[in-house]
């Protein structure tokens, strides 16, 4: 039932609006709205009940295990939420003077310092609103760097075939062409192919390490040398930073620019699809180009630097400079972890992944890179099950929902057929991992004995499998008074 279905003309949550409605006489009639927008008219309780009940239809970290590869769905500490929502922080206008923001800026400056230290980068800007915007900023800085040097020939960004889709998309948004580099059979980037691809047209390479195939690229130093020698820069996609937090630093690996997904590694909530935060860190040569604003500290006062003070900056990415509330959450989390906690994140994320891989292998599932250590995630390919029982990775994924587990990432990376990319994170217990293995074994047994049960899954969710083709062909993207009758059950 839609909120619109509970709407009746004249119904209102009347405590929520001002009690009076002044007459407006100074706005010309021609500029006024002629009819009321079709917004729902409901009581406060109806709204509360409707959205409370809708929420119960979701899986979430607070209710379910979520082994989503490359998404780092770990526990979001509740203190991060309440401390970021203190009235002093929530009430501050973005254009308020620095004097009314020293507390906030102290947190942001501290966070910049922590991120520098844990990534080994020289400087950090917190401005990007999410990973993809961080990628955009990073690549834009690479472009600005070459341009500032008068090196206009560098028109190409290298991207491994296992990369997240945002990598090529971000490169294109910065006006680059994308060249794909294949992944070798062992999961590492194909070094020979890379060597053949670099040249004077190479602006840089975008890499995730550990990569999305769930292994740490052992040749990272050779890769860095190859690209740097060709005059290109190295971009680090921080999506998998959770795997190496406090163990090895992108700056030490030779990266010139990185983004971090604070909603992954620093545990800010995914919120059903954001908000995230995608700070960027850079080596000294890229510092002038960092997006604004940046927080500086002169030992006494914090200050927000903007375009005027940073003339070479690639500029601003949002009107007011970032998802402050998310940065505060990440800051609280980082301080609770502290220096010793950072490394433990990687330790236990990696322990959980390797344990889960070992258990699934033991149970007869096929790991994509069985000879490698798992990083914080690993790939299982269900090609054998698909061939034998006609039950594919998506069927397994949907059936897992019935067992109370969110599906792993499915059909990504594209280079492994029928794959599940599994990332348990450090916050899950051994019992939960064991439960997941039991469910996988049970589903394989079902696939063998009753494949239709699995192919028809899920059976216990609020809806059964949805018709995506119909969704895309018979577009129904907004409720309308008339259209509603057709489909609403």
């Amino acid at each position: 039932m839609l909120i619109y279905d509970q709407s009746r003309p004249g119904r209102r949550a009347s405590a929520q609006a001002p009690l009076t409605k002044p007459e407006i006489s100074d706005i010309p009639a021609g500029l006024r709205r002629r009819s009321r927008p079709a917004l729902p008219e409901v009581s406060e309780m109806q709204a509360v009940r409707h959205y409370t009940r809708l929420s119960q239809k979701n899986f979430s970290i607070d209710t379910h295990f979520y082994p989503l590869g490359s998404c780092t769905m770990k526990y979001n500490p509740r203190a991060c939420n309440s401390l970021a929502m203190l009235p002093g922080f929530l009430g501050r206008h973005p254009l308020a003077p620095d004097s009314h923001g020293q507390g906030l800026m102290a947190c942001l400056h501290d966070l910049q310092e922590i991120l520098k230290a844990v990534t080994g980068m020289h400087a950090v800007s917190l401005a990007p609103s999410a990973g993809a915007q961080g990628e955009f900023a990073g690549v834009a800085m690479i472009r600005a760097y070459h341009k500032a040097r008068g090196d206009h020939a560098r028109t190409e960004i290298l991207v491994p075939d296992a990369a997240h889709g945002t990598n090529p998309a971000s490169a294109v948004m910065c006006g680059f062409k994308v060249r794909e580099i294949p992944t070798g059979d062992d999961g590492d980037v194909d070094l020979d192919a890379l060597k053949a691809a670099v040249g004077p047209q190479t602006a840089g390479i975008m890499l995730t390490n550990p990569s999305t195939v769930g292994v740490f690229d052992r040749n990272i130093q050779a890769i860095a040398r190859t690209v740097h020698d060709a005059g290109g820069l190295l971009y680090y996609d921080g999506a998998n930073l959770n795997a190496i937090l406090g163990k090895v630093r992108p700056g030490d690996m030779g990266f010139d620019v990185i983004h971090m997904n604070l909603h992954k590694t620093f545990s800010t909530p995914h919120g059903g699809g954001g908000p995230g935060a995608g700070p960027v860190g850079v080596s000294p040569r890229l510092e002038p180009f960092l997006p604004v604003p940046l927080v500086t500290f002169d030992g006494d006062t914090y200050h927000w630097q903007t375009e005027a003070e940073r003339p070479e900056s690639i500029g601003r990415l949002t009107a007011f400079g970032g998802n402050m509330g998310i940065l505060l959450r990440a800051y609280v989390y980082a301080r609770m972890l502290g220096r010793e906690g950072m490394g433990r994140v990687a330790d236990f994320a990696t322990l959980n992944a390797n344990y889960l891989m070992a258990r699934l292998k033991e149970a007869g599932f096929e790991a994509a890179y069985p000879e490698r250590r798992a990083s914080h995630e690993f790939i299982v390919t269900l090609k054998p099950e698909s061939r034998q029982f006609g039950v594919n990775a998506m069927d397994f994924a949907k059936r897992l929902l019935d067992y109370g587990y969110h599906a792993p990432t499915t059909y990504f990376p594209l280079l492994v057929p029928e794959c599940l990319l599994i990332e348990p994170t450090e916050t899950e217990s051994k019992e939960d991992l064991d439960g997941f293995v039991e469910a996988m074994i049970a589903i394989r047994r079902e696939a063998e004995e009753n494949p239709d049960l699995v192919k028809g899954a899920p059976h216990t969710m609020p809806v059964r499998r949805l018709d995506d083709v119909r969704a895309a062909r018979q577009l129904d993207l907004a409720w309308r008074p008339s259209a509603s009758e057709n489909i609403n059950g």
């Binding site: 929530l90 993809a132 699809g273 970032g322 509330g325 450090e426």
Partner: protein
């Protein structure tokens, strides 16, 4: 070990299953010379109690001054229900709803949000959010260039009376894609962007789109019908930049001119998002049906399940980076789902009547404030045009000095425009939302009068 559930028995058993001697051994593929030791520059861990004390003292330090700044972020009342529900774990800690069957809550919220934004803007379809209003405009610009089938122009007309931060953001985001941003001047008397200025800026070449801000940065109302018709006559698309609260009163982009605007975007912050120093907010982006495949960002659609029961799913994913990679409409991925949840609950609680009341009260409060301030000798409105809930005032002394003095009385008196619009002299953009009381406005005016009197 905060947030790690492993007991020493667990660790031993797990390592045994893996066949490794220690956790450190699991990192043996990482070249030894790259591995780091202690991160000395990071402070030691704190308990929740300790970090809570630190954060509380810092939040208190920022105080709670009385805010008369608008300029794209507005201090509206937010019903308590909005964030009590939005921060329920099932919304707060859920992932992007790619697994539709396990995410019907979030998906239906997105669908309802799209429905509401489509109703407010008078356009057919809406996406499920972008980062903020300014980056939404940047995406709208890129979208307009792709969507304009009448020409291949990359020229975009942008009024100077558009929010300066929006203009800067658009530049940062689109400049690497050879988009030409052409600035359109405003009339110094009315504060409007008249057709004469638009034509002067446009020249004779093809245009991809004209950006129309309603109200513009000065709070001034543009002649949107004329601008829309002019642009369409020139085969340019029209991108409306609108305030959702204003839309409760003002003609929606879908109704502008003879054919309506093609795209509308803006900042959803006034719909239930706290000021929060600038974020997280959410951008919205709506368009006519014909352009839907050029829309960036996530879109939820209603469909049927295997049993023929209605349900919701992300749709048109072929536009997006995780499918189309380099050919996607945008690189956007995670953006502002939780804020959309809040905005949806907010709109459901306010309804059209509630939003209208909010808009009318903001407008009336700003009128009252302007009247009080303009009673002070030397203070006067800069523009004569009609406005919505914001106005530019000329001051008899440098705005920066006066604002500093007011801040000492815990009053944030408005936004100093002298850096962005030096041609306006000492000009201040003020706004009083529905949350400002008569007493607060009175005390602002009294403080300003005192400050000016003692200079």
């Amino acid at each position: 070990m905060p947030f790690v559930p492993h007991t020493s028995e667990d660790i031993a058993a797990m390592l045994q299953t893996i066949g490794a001697d220690s956790i450190a051994a699991l990192f043996d593929e990482i070249p030894a010379e790259l591995q780091v030791g202690e991160l000395a520059d990071i402070p030691a861990g704190m308990s929740e109690m300790e970090i809570a004390a630190l954060m509380q003292s810092r939040a208190r330090a920022d105080g709670q001054p009385i805010c008369f700044i608008g300029a794209g972020a507005y201090d509206h009342h937010i019903p308590a229900a909005v964030w009590q529900i939005a921060t329920r774990g099932e919304f707060y800690s859920a992932y992007t709803p790619y697994q539709a069957e396990a995410s019907q809550g979030t998906l239906q919220v997105l669908y309802e949000f799209q429905s509401m934004m489509s109703a407010l803007t008078g356009l057919d379809v809406s996406n499920a959010s972008l980062y903020d209003g300014a980056s939404a405009l940047a995406e709208a610009v890129l979208m307009a260039v792709r969507a304009n089938r009448k020409n291949k122009s990359t020229r975009i007309l942008m009024p100077k009376a558009l929010h300066p931060a929006y203009r800067r953001t658009v530049r940062s985001i689109v400049e690497n894609q050879d988009i030409e941003l052409i600035e359109v001047d405003f009339d110094p008397k009315s504060g409007q962007t008249p057709i004469a200025c638009v034509e002067a800026a446009a020249g004779d070449a093809d245009l991809a789109a004209l950006v129309v801000a309603q109200p513009n940065f000065f709070g001034v109302l543009e002649d949107v019908d004329a601008m829309t018709d002019w642009a369409h006559a020139r085969n340019a698309l029209v991108i409306g930049v609108v305030n959702p609260i204003a839309l409760a009163l003002l003609s929606p982009p879908g109704d502008w001119g003879a054919k309506g605007a093609d795209i509308a975007c803006g900042e959803a912050q006034p719909l239930g998002m706290p000021l929060s120093s600038g974020g997280p907010y959410a951008g919205f982006l709506c368009c006519r049906q014909e352009h839907v495949r050029q829309l960036p960002g996530r879109i939820a659609g209603r469909t049927l399940d295997l049993d023929g029961k209605p349900g919701f799913t992300l749709t048109l994913q072929a536009r997006e980076q995780h499918i189309r990679r380099a050919k996607a409409t945008s690189n956007i991925c995670t953006n502002q789902g939780l804020l959309v949840t809040a905005a949806t609950i907010h709109m459901a609680l306010l309804g059209a009547e509630g939003l209208e009341r909010v808009a009318a009260n903001c407008h009336a409060n700003t009128s009252t404030l302007v009247e009080m301030l303009c009673a002070i000798p030397g203070v006067e409105p800069v523009f004569e045009g009609a406005v919505f809930h914001e106005r530019v005032l000329r001051l008899p002394a440098p705005a920066a000095d006066l604002l500093r003095a007011l801040a000492e009385h815990s009053v944030l008196g408005g936004l100093d425009l002298s850096a962005d619009y030096p041609e306006l002299g000492s000009a201040l953009l003020v706004c009083a939302t529905e949350t400002r009381t008569q007493d607060e406005m009175r005390s602002y005016a009294d403080a300003l009068a005192r400050i000016l009197a003692t200079r």
